[in-house]
């Protein structure tokens, strides 16, 4: 049943990633505001009605 140790290790490592991301989320202010995020997604983006630009301004 040594596999238990591997699985515990992997599960704990997964938990660790989750913990680190949780701390990251808190520290960077992801959860400072728990009201507006729910509202913000309801606003659709403003559509560009005019003929679309030839160049791509959204080039990453």
């Amino acid at each position: 049943m040594e596999i238990m140790f591997v699985m515990l290790l992997v599960s704990l490592l997964l938990a660790l990633i989750f913990l680190v991301s949780f701390i990251w989320a808190n520290k960077t202010g992801q959860y400072d505001d728990d009201v507006t995020p729910g509202m913000r997604i309801l606003y659709d983006d403003e559509e560009v009605k005019k003929k679309p630009n030839k160049e791509k301004p959204n080039k990453e």
Partner: protein, 726 residues
């Protein structure tokens, strides 16, 4: 900040949406065929007895098609649509998007071809053989890469809760898939699981449970958190609750897997650990369910008018029911009745048809009008679909709950004198026939609902024009780090330590696993009961036929330490009996009886006749006939390789044995063939030993006659002592 123009890629969403509907219909039709095979076994045996559509091969095709093709494509549809809009940016790379799409479809097609052909690892929801496993890993990484990169170039600082669910889905599924799929290839489409027996069972259900958790649950909660508020035009009831239940859910889910192995040979403490975490899971699960339903507070009038919201409400309700039922089923006393019965099948279909199916349908009715800038062709048709689907779920699940509960109790029923009331297993199966027929009907009308949707969407598509790219203006709310001219893209990633950590972890986990697992897995094989010996070459081949035909789908090999089980099947199963089982074949459903102690119970000729035509020997049997096993020659070309691979995995075949294996195989086959001929020669006097000794059926008989016999030769006391010493 300046406004920027963004072009959301709708084409990839459309592709995945079409794939979802197409594969959904196919996967459900395959499910209907499987249901009909149980309801009308004689018809299928007499008129459609082809090996490629035999139940054992069709069932994994159904589960894989609905999970990975229907639900999988739906996840990609929803993620590719919502991620772009939540982050206000196009997907990072179109190339990766379309590679993800075509790669995934190719995997599905290969599953559709290989599973009916009998190429299977036999591990539930992980049946696909090793080359496809590798392809799945690559495609999953492509998806994750694209998603992470899109998050890095986002224009909104805040990550909406849905995205957290997507991220957890990606990371966990990647790790689970890799760990559960460790297998050593024997040939191009055949491999043996790296793990054996109890170890294999534990890893499999760690994976199996989390496939439900992180493939069927977390991505759908993410989609729910996007599509329910959007469709209702209401913010989620409590954003705070969504965050809390997300973290609670993902921390708890990982540990619940052992509840699939209650009363098995898994150590008790591991079983209890699984139970405790399963019970705790009620809280975060219901947190999500209530949060979704309460989002509709004050707008229930919209539910009356909108088919989309109706689908979402039933989806959430089904989620609530399934996640209450799950923890209940993981209680040992309830589990002793329900496990191995149709109850479990009903449970997963409340989740599958209710939670996943209804959420997907709602999402499709929401998306297509948006993608084609047109109103839905027919609201009333969508409403009709909703009612048909709901009725279909009820007609599907209620008979199956009934069947499962009845059968579970019949197995346990004792007469006052201490004998079993239903000693004949078959009588507990034939009692279920009406339920199997009703279930098929429920499935049929559920599919009719889906066909209505396909028609409705086709009409909608025809009346609109597809918006290939949605061009919008957005105001970024995130400071773009000054990007020096000519800077390489990976510099951007390097500035994000956390993401880098995640990436590195995945790499490390894969690398570490490759190093650790072999030692561990091989090491653990050393513990064994001295009387338990490796399978003979003929039994190895027979076992592979057992795997190929999907026997494990209906027959368990795990006698639980409960009186009604030992009374029916004999001595309960010990962990040490399975040390040479690569993979384990404990099974999770008893449509037929347990086979753990099958060896020696019946004559070789009984098995021979039974396999060719089961109902000839057991009148009323619903088992498919396997006439091809008596016609097809046993292929022994890979025998040498198989022995070598198994030896490499820790099965103690002597060095050089692979050279003698074939002659041993023939000797044993001749002996069994002689037994069979002796018994059946009265009717068929012209059949010779050489006619049947080389057939597949002989190998299968050899395997069945071996099952559970090693330990029978040992006095019970000694066995217990040996087991407890470990």
């Amino acid at each position: 900040m300046e406004k920027v123009e963004v072009r959301y890629d709708n084409k990839i969403v459309k592709y995945f949406a079409y794939a979802t509907i197409t594969w959904g219909i196919i996967g459900m039709l395959v499910g209907l065929i499987a249901a009909l095979q149980l309801a009308f076994p004689d018809f299928f045996n007499d008129y459609l007895g082809y090996k490629y559509i035999s139940f054992g091969r069709i069932r994994p095709l159904h589960t894989n098609a609905v999970i990975f093709a229907f639900v999988g494509n739906a996840i990609f549809t929803g993620v590719y649509y919502s991620l772009q809009r939540l982050l206000k940016t196009r997907m990072w790379s179109d190339k990766l998007s379309y590679l993800n799409f075509w790669g995934w479809q190719l995997i599905i097609v290969s599953a559709v071809i290989t599973l009916p052909m009998g190429f299977t690892s036999s591990k539930e929801y992980a049946e696909l053989e090793w080359p496809i496993d590798i392809a799945i890993t690559i495609m999953w990484v492509v998806f994750g890469w694209n998603m992470f990169a899109t998050i890095l170039v986002r224009r909104v600082k805040h990550l909406y809760v849905a995205i957290w669910f997507y991220l957890a889905t990606f990371v966990t599924v990647a790790v689970l898939h890799v760990f559960n799929s460790f297998e050593i290839p024997v040939s191009f489409m055949k491999s043996y699981s790296w793990y054996s027996g109890v170890t294999d069972a534990l890893v499999q259900w760690w994976y199996g449970h989390n496939a439900v958790a992180f493939f069927l649950t977390t991505p759908f909660l993410g989609l729910m958190y996007y599509f329910v508020p959007k469709a209702a035009n209401r913010p989620v009831y409590s954003y705070k609750l969504s965050i809390i239940h997300f973290w609670a859910l993902i921390f708890l889910y990982i540990w619940a897997g052992p509840h699939h192995l209650l009363y098995s040979s898994l150590p008790d403490w591991a079983q209890s650990l699984g139970v405790v975490f399963s019970i705790m899971l009620i809280a975060p699960s219901w947190g999500g369910m209530l949060n979704g339903l309460l989002t509709l507070r004050g707008v229930w009038d919209k539910v009356r008018d909108s088919a989309v919201l109706k689908f979402f409400v039933v989806a959430l309700t089904a989620y609530g029911m399934a996640t209450f039922e799950g923890p209940m089923l993981s209680l040992k006393n309830i589990n002793s009745i329900t496990h191995f019965t149709d109850w479990i099948v009903a449970h997963v279909h409340v989740g599958g048809l209710g939670w996943n199916g209804m959420l997907i349908f709602g999402m499709m009715y929401y998306l297509f009008p948006k993608l084609y800038k047109v109103k839905l062709y027919s609201q009333s048709l969508a409403n009709a679909h909703f009612w048909i689907a709901t009725l279909g779920i009820l007609l599907w699940t209620i008979p199956m709950y009934w069947a499962g509960f009845s059968q579970g109790l019949m197995w346990q029923e004792f007469n006052p004198d201490g004998t079993l009331t239903y000693p004949d297993f078959l009588s507990t199966v034939t009692a279920l026939e009406p339920f199997y027929i009703m279930r098929s009907f429920g499935g049929l009308i559920y599919i009719i609902g889906v066909l209505l949707m396909a028609y409705n969407i086709r009409k909608t598509v025809k009346s609109g024009t597809f918006v290939k790219e949605e061009v919008v203006e957005v105001t970024p709310t995130i400071e773009k780090k000054k990007k020096e001219k000519g800077e390489h893209w990976h510099r951007v990633i390097e500035r994000k330590p956390v993401r880098l950590l995640v990436f590195s972890f995945i790499v490390i986990a894969i690398g570490g696993a490759v190093e650790i697992i072999p030692t561990m897995a091989v090491e653990s094989n050393i513990e064994k009961i001295s009387q338990v010996k490796p399978f003979t070459p003929l039994e190895v081949e027979g076992r592979d036929i057992y795997i190929r035909e999907g026997c494990v789908g209906c027959h368990s090999q795990m006698v639980r330490p409960l009186r009604f089980e030992t009374e029916r099947y004999g001595e309960y199963s010990k962990a040490g009996e399975f040390v040479y089982d690569h993979p384990f074949l404990w099974g999770s459903k008893r449509t037929g009886p347990d086979l753990a102690r099958e060896g020696g119970l019946r004559s070789d000729s009984w098995h021979y006749t039974h396999m060719i035509m089961p109902k000839q020997i057991s009148p009323g049997s619903i088992m498919p006939a396997y006439p091809w096993l008596a016609d097809d020659d046993l292929y022994t070309g890979h025998l040498e390789k198989k022995i070598n691979v198994l030896r490499g995995l820790g099965v103690p075949y002597p060095e050089g044995y692979e050279k003698e294996a074939l002659s041993d195989l023939q000797k044993q086959a001749n002996k069994i063939a002689e037994n069979v001929i002796r018994d059946i020669s009265k009717e068929n006097s012209n059949v010779q030993v050489s006619d049947i000794a080389g057939k597949e059926i002989i190998a299968l008989i050899a395997y069945l006659q071996r099952l559970g016999t090693d330990i029978k030769a040992v006095p019970a006391e000694e066995t217990e002592l040996e087991t407890s010493m470990k």
